[in-house]
């Protein structure tokens, strides 16, 4: 139920003078009214349940501004938006104007369409946006921030607050900018698995208010699955601050921003000591922390969310002919550019995984049915089953496969696949089924019409099932003689299981659990994924493995904790002098020490006293590298404990005893995919 597209962004005042430009925008808005209405309707028929979306028509410059601002019209003043804008402009200048899709997580969502896009691109963007809005509204990780984020208004008010501080004659503008830079270095150092809880400016210094946390959790309406993953008993207990505990924080704290907001000070260079932060500093710190929490779910679900949108976009545009054939060519060209860009591309990885989920869920069910046919077992499956016969039986019924508007009266009554209201409207001439055949069908009808296993690109999928998987499926089957014939078995196939399952997954998973569960060897082989590592002995990057476990491992590394190392506050009274000790929870992958130093300098500004970081460093001996090279092996690094301390006017670095850092080293994971011998 989206509103009609509008020609002016909402922040513009309602003036009555229309320029030719405005009129062009209004025309475009009018042209898109019908596609928007239809896309929403189609999305709902396909089982999606998006937030309502407000569409806005914007020009090229406005589009670039929106992209720079992360999809919003107002953000706090900062040079990095300018940087993104600059890059964006240069990119589109050299690479040609692409159709961008911008939609923000808000209820209602706001989406932006560029006035100069072709109609095909507009339609593609609209279908894509509807699927994103569905993801925002239904994925539970988004609930961690809020089900009603009121984001546009909140970010705009943040912008006003920061701007006011900058214009305040009592406050030095440059200082505000530097302060923001410091905080942004720690943007990802929050606890993204925890719901956002503000630390208010005038609150006392007892840390985050956690008392009502359990109630809060209940209000979030999370599924048991998510609760188990995140909010276990142990976690709840850990939230209770134990007054008698000697070390503080009692448990390592990964919300560094929150910790600094609660206990941080600033360094007063004249007094040469830590003093309380100014009110404006506390305020800005909390504002930026809140924004970090708001954007975290999007970072946590990038692969899923982009894949989800591409999946439904492609289904609506190509398979349900939402674009007419002329538009389709432009669309296909655009799509191939988006999905074909080199490197690991979240759009295509996500799309492929969702297609894989759809196919494998559909296949699982078909196979279950077939194994219930007398005489078919997992052992003789490939010999007994005639896959062409099965595929022919699975083909959608004529009733849903095509719509003959001259023979609407031949449609039988009481078929769950038919939307009889639409049928009546079509008979009365109010719905154009030639143009929109999908309007005749319910969710069940469309699921059969778009059944994945019989599509040309998936026809080999069923027969490719491995014996292992067959055995696994048959293990849980009791009645294996339910049907006499294959035809009876296929007749019982429910065409909606694939989509049903996909919606469940989109509700409860994030990128990490999604990849963990659905990345299989079959998928990795089919998509030619491989891992690579830097080989010290050869001095370049080498492919290392095509095993799905390795690929998964590397992908997990890239997606866990935003692809960043986990850094926690370990001791706020380090060296008994209120210094801050941070620890890097080492997972076998080394920290970028150069950047870490630069971050420590910034944390100093937010803590007011010296700041130290402990990590584990890998050291390579030149001699070892040489020996390894000769033996076609990789040199083994020596791991040593390392502490970097920034005192305010310099760095002190030293090796620390292994026993001091031993607890930081994870022993149960190994992200290294290098084989023992492999250079030959």
């Amino acid at each position: 139920m989206s509103e009609r597209p509008q020609s002016k962004p909402m922040s513009e005042s309602d003036d009555t003078i229309y320029t030719p430009e405005d009129i062009r925008m209004q025309r475009e808005a009018a042209k898109l009214e019908e596609p928007v209405k239809n896309a929403t309707e189609l999305a709902r028929r396909l089982g999606l349940n998006p937030y309502p979306v407000n569409y806005w028509i914007v020009d090229y410059d406005e589009m670039n501004e929106l992209i720079a601002y992360g999809g919003f019209q107002q953000r706090y003043p900062h040079w990095r938006w300018g940087m993104t804008y600059d890059r964006q402009q240069k990119q589109s200048q050299f690479l040609g104007g692409k159709a961008f899709e911008i939609v923000n997580n808000d209820n209602p969502s706001h989406a932006f369409l560029q006035v100069s896009n072709s109609l095909a691109d507009q339609k593609a963007v609209i279908t894509h946006v509807e699927a994103h809005a569905d993801f925002f509204a239904n994925n539970e990780w988004f609930a961690l921030f809020s089900r009603d984020p009121n984001a546009a208004a909140q970010l705009a008010s943040h912008a006003d607050t920061v701007r006011n501080y900058m214009h305040d004659p009592e406050i030095d503008r440059g200082e505000v900018e530097r302060f923001i830079d410091h905080i942004l270095s720690l943007e990802d150092n929050i606890d993204q698995y925890r719901p956002y809880a503000p630390i208010s400016v005038d609150g006392d210094e007892n840390g985050p208010e956690l008392a009502a946390l359990e109630d809060q959790l209940d209000e979030l309406n999370l599924s048991e699955e998510v609760k188990r993953q995140v909010f276990d008993e142990e976690w709840l207990e850990s939230q209770a601050v134990d007054e008698t505990d000697v070390t503080f924080p009692p448990e390592p704290e990964s919300d560094i921003l929150g910790f600094l907001r609660a206990y941080g000070k600033q360094y007063d260079a004249d007094a040469e000591k830590a003093v309380e932060m100014e009110d404006w500093q506390k305020d800005i710190l909390e504002i930026l922390r809140r924004e970090a929490y708001y954007f975290a779910p999007q970072k946590l679900t990038k692969v899923m969310n982009e894949g989800w949108a591409s999946f439904w976009e492609s289904l609506m545009m190509a398979d349900e002919n939402f674009a007419d054939s002329q538009e389709f060519i432009t669309y296909a060209d655009h799509m191939s550019r988006v999905l074909g860009s080199p490197g690991l591309n979240p759009y295509s990885l996500g799309l492929q995984l969702w297609q894989y989920v759809e196919n494998s869920e559909n296949r699982r069910q078909v196979v279950e049915q077939l194994l219930c046919v007398t005489g078919i077992t997992w052992r003789n499956f490939h010999e007994m089953v005639d896959f062409n016969e099965v595929l022919a039986l699975l083909e959608p019924d004529d009733l849903v496969a095509s719509v003959d508007t001259n023979r609407l009266d031949a449609i039988p009554a009481d078929d769950p696949r038919i939307d009889y209201e639409s049928l009546r409207a079509a008979t009365d001439g109010n719905v154009d089924l030639d143009r929109y055949p999908w309007k005749l069908f319910t969710y069940e009808g469309l699921a059969e019409r778009q059944y994945s296993l019989v599509k040309p690109q998936n026809r080999g999928y069923l027969s490719r099932i491995s014996r292992d998987e067959l055995e696994r499926i048959s293990r849980y089957m009791f009645d294996d003689e339910k049907y006499d014939t294959v035809a009876q078995a296929i007749d019982a196939v429910d065409y909606t299981v694939g989509w049903d399952r996909m919606r469940d997954i989109r509700a409860s998973h994030n990128d990490i659990t999604f990849l963990d569960e659905f990345l299989t060897q079959e998928f990795v082989d089919e998509q030619h994924y491989f891992t690579y590592e830097y080989a010290r002995s050869a001095g370049d990057y080498r492919a290392t493995s095509t095993d799905y476990r390795d690929v998964k491992k590397k992908l997990m590394l890239q997606f866990t904790n935003f692809g960043k190392p986990t850094i926690v506050v370990s001791d706020a009274n380090y060296r008994n002098r209120n210094e801050l000790l941070l620890e890097h929870q080492y997972n076998g992958v080394a920290l970028d020490i150069g950047q870490a130093r630069a971050v420590l300098e910034r944390i100093f500004e937010l803590w007011g006293r010296p700041v130290a970081l402990r990590t584990i460093k890998k050291e390579f001996d030149d001699h070892d590298i040489e020996v390894a090279r000769r033996r076609n092996k990789e040199p083994k690094p020596k791991e040593v404990g390392w502490e970097i301390r920034y005192t305010g006017d310099g760095f002190e670095e030293e090796e620390v005893e292994w026993s001091e850092v031993e607890q930081l080293a994870a022993t149960d994971i190994d992200y290294d995919t290098k084989p023992e011998e492999w250079l030959a």
Binding site: Y532, A543, L557, L591, D592
Partner: protein, 439 residues
């Protein structure tokens, strides 16, 4: 919106963090720029963050059509695989660039080196409307760049076009219906044909025609698929899909007439003894000189001459990379330079700069008998010789010394020695300040 302000702040921040100019000349990557646009890397615009060491992280790639075997080198990870590239320990790998035009570069270099070269003839005499060479997206119909519109349309056409006869032939295979052909065309042959077209074509075939070929193999043996360009050449083009977004309109370029111009002759020894290091030092010295002079004059032209025992003119792109095997005869290059200058760049109309570089090795007596007389003969604002000898002097490498001894502290001849990147800015100063003394 406040974005204009953010953009200005970014430019300011970028300016503050721009790599120091002389550091850039000595060690920076000079190849990133175009002749008219110099890209100075900005040190850190991205804020630092806790990150993994890039190399230690490894990653996941996706093979294009096949999977590389373990052990195969895969090249540098594509940007976009992770957040950024760069060596571990660097404050931030991703470089942003601050772009400056040659004029700004010249100003900055003046400031940096304490120079102030005042080129002759920088007066604007008049403004005229030049050719219609600049383009915009809208304009009067008369100025529409039809050639471009046609070309873009043709590109689209090529992307959408297919060999109709070949697809029709597939429909004539016994037992193949539209569905089979569609699947075959899209998945096996990659032919961008629509299902509707196939159905249409199928209906037009008679029953007899539909069984003309027994199998795909027979069809393929009989009918040859004609590539799109060949077909278009044969049939000519009909129905070019013109699109509004391809339209460009020309508008006249405003040309300012200048009184004086500059021509720079860059001469480089490409003989066997000029190894990688020496070539790099030449590039490092000549490139900023080109930019500087380009920034100082409004119309700068460049001639690039490579020589071993013979000399020939080359394009800029090739100039710094060439290597040949032959001996060395520096005078051959001066002969060619003289010829080119006399032909096209009369001394009374042009400012002339003749820069040569090499490792000072020359065939015996060539310097004193031929090169020096030629240098005296060629009128120029400045002659310069840059000796690049990374390893110190070779015994018979005496060209620079001979030139220096002959001309002494002459007003228009400079000799500079560069043995490592640190010497580059000094050499540039030596060269450019020589002409300054002239005034």
């Amino acid at each position: 919106m406040g974005l204009k302000e953010d953009l200005e702040r970014f430019r300011e921040v970028g300016e503050e963090r721009r790599q120091d100019l002389s550091e850039f000349i000595q060690y920076g990557d000079l190849s990133g720029g175009r002749p008219d646009q110099i890209r100075i890397p900005i040190k850190i615009v991205n804020l630092p963050e806790f990150a993994y060491e890039k190399r230690d992280m490894g990653g996941v790639g996706q093979g294009d059509g096949g999977t590389p075997q373990p052990g195969e080198p895969v090249g540098q990870p594509e940007p976009g695989d992770g957040d950024e590239d760069g060596d571990p320990g660097e404050e931030s790998g991703e470089h942003e660039y601050y772009e400056m035009d040659p004029e700004e570069f010249a100003e900055e270099l003046d400031e940096e080196l304490g120079l102030d070269l005042d080129p002759k003839g920088k007066q604007v005499t008049e403004e005229i409307e030049g050719d219609f060479t600049d383009i915009t997206r809208t304009g009067p119909t008369g100025t529409l760049d039809f050639e471009r519109l046609f070309k873009e349309g043709l590109k689209r056409k090529l992307a959408m076009d297919f060999d109709e006869e070949y697809v029709k032939a597939a429909l004539q295979i016994d037992g193949w219906g539209p569905d089979r052909v569609f699947e075959w065309a899209r998945t096996e042959e990659n032919i961008p044909v629509s299902r509707a077209w196939i159905v249409d074509a199928h209906e037009k075939l008679s029953a007899e025609e539909r069984t003309q070929y027994e199998s795909l193999a027979e069809m393929e043996a009989t009918v040859e698929r004609e590539p799109t360009p060949a077909r278009i050449r044969r049939e000519g083009v009909k129905d070019i899909p013109f699109r509004r977004e391809d339209e460009r309109y020309r508008y006249p370029e405003i040309i300012e007439e200048r009184e004086k111009n500059v021509v720079v002759v860059n001469i480089r020894d490409v003989s066997g003894s000029m190894r990688q290091k020496k070539r790099e030092l030449v590039e490092r010295t000549f490139t900023p000189l080109d930019w500087y002079l380009q920034g100082k004059y409004d119309n700068a032209e460049f001639i690039y001459i490579a020589h071993d025992a013979d000399a020939w003119e080359v394009e800029r792109e090739d100039f710094f990379g060439i290597r040949s095997g032959g001996g060395t005869k520096i005078s051959s290059a001066y002969e060619l330079a003289k010829e080119r200058l006399d032909e096209e760049y009369p001394w009374n109309e042009w400012n002339r700069y003749v820069f040569a570089a090499g490792d000072s090795e020359n065939s015996s007596n060539d310097t004193s008998e031929s090169v020096i007389p030629l240098m005296e003969e060629i009128d120029a604002n400045l002659h310069a010789y840059v000796e690049t000898q990374p390893a110190g002097n070779a015994i018979n490498a005496t060209h620079a010394e001979e030139v220096h001894n002959h001309f002494g502290d002459s007003e228009n001849v400079a000799v500079a020695y560069v043995s490592n990147p640190e010497d580059v800015t000094d050499a540039i100063y030596e060269i450019l300040s020589t002409e300054q003394n002239d005034e």
